[in-house]
Point group: C2
Chain length 198, copies 2
């Protein structure tokens, strides 16, 4: 079976392929780079679930393949769950700007600079949607709880990983190995939950 | 009676004096610039009410005068009520940075750039606390509902005024006269509510 993951992010493709290899070995996963002239739409949803569903539905409409899309982000308790769906564009810099991840991360650190340590709780959240050409839809949510630290640590991962320490760990998610991160990550949780339905 | 307003913001002093002149004419209002060696503390609260109370209590401890303090900000629906208590430092720039208001405002506009118009609801919120040397405390909240526009308009007011249009108005709060703004503003509502208790 061919299945589309509506992303151009190669790391996400690799991650989902790894999960699918365990859960549903007869699936051939393709990404948007394998689809000609795919029309990009802005992410206008106000929840992770909305955005994941919007992206998966668009992918099905265009490709007629069963399609998975995810939307992920960092939810900081003291910021009422923000940056949330705005995580990638939190600093206002346009997509493709060099060091955008770093600008986003530094902005969050500055915003919580006066917040006491005990209120630095946060979670990485991922909503993943699976939409079939016959109209069936499924959305799942994965969360990884933890807290922010005051200064970045680690070279792995991406986005806000260098300032996030998952519950039960001492290292940031940028200091975990890919396998360690997969095992506990919001996206790993959500992708595994979806894979069970393939 | 001498009363302290725990602020160095002259516009707030003028605004509260105007409200008090109508409500409680025997009050002499002083600001922090009239108090020698006043110790500044960071605003560590996570709600407007917390911050207003913290500031008013500190003012009473230091001056032994009945003291009013307020904390105000912009609460954008699509940002889960943020910038909220972080309104003044939303862009991460330190206090005193030239054009900080403009940087904050431009950041909010960039963050909501993809949010559909019908989800641009917002409110200006003010919590005002009155604390007496004998320990009595009162906190009130004033709100002005409205919506954001996509580009700043108007030279009056300050902060996020140029991108906020109050319900029932066409002009931004930066385009209203001071008297028009006082009549509907979050701070005007909160200060008038407090003045009734003096």
């Amino acid at each position: 079976m061919r299945l589309l993951l509506a992303t151009r992010n190669k790391k996400k493709l690799v991650e989902l392929r790894r999960v699918l290899a365990e859960a549903a070995s007869d699936v051939e996963l393709v990404g948007l780079d394998d689809v000609d002239e795919y029309p990009e739409s802005p992410e206008t949803g106000l929840t992770f679930e909305d955005n994941a569903l919007l992206k998966a539905r668009e992918a099905v409409q265009f490709t007629r393949l069963p399609s998975i899309a995810d939307d992920s982000g960092l939810a900081v308790d003291a910021l009422n769950g923000m940056p949330g769906v705005f995580s990638a564009r939190w600093s206002g810099l346009p997509s493709g700007t060099p060091n955008r991840d770093e600008a986003n991360l530094n902005l969050v650190l500055a915003q919580v600079a006066d917040v006491p340590d005990e209120h630095l709780g946060a979670a990485f959240v991922c909503a993943a949607a699976l939409v079939w050409p016959d109209g069936r839809e499924l959305v799942v949510r994965g969360e990884m709880r933890g807290h922010l630290i005051r200064a970045p640590r680690g070279d792995g991962g991406f986005g806000y990983d260098p300032i996030f320490v998952a519950d039960g760990h001492d290292r940031t998610t940028a200091e975990l190995t890919p396998a360690e991160k997969d095992a506990i990550s919001h996206r790993g949780i959500a992708f595994r939950a979806l894979a069970e339905h393939l």
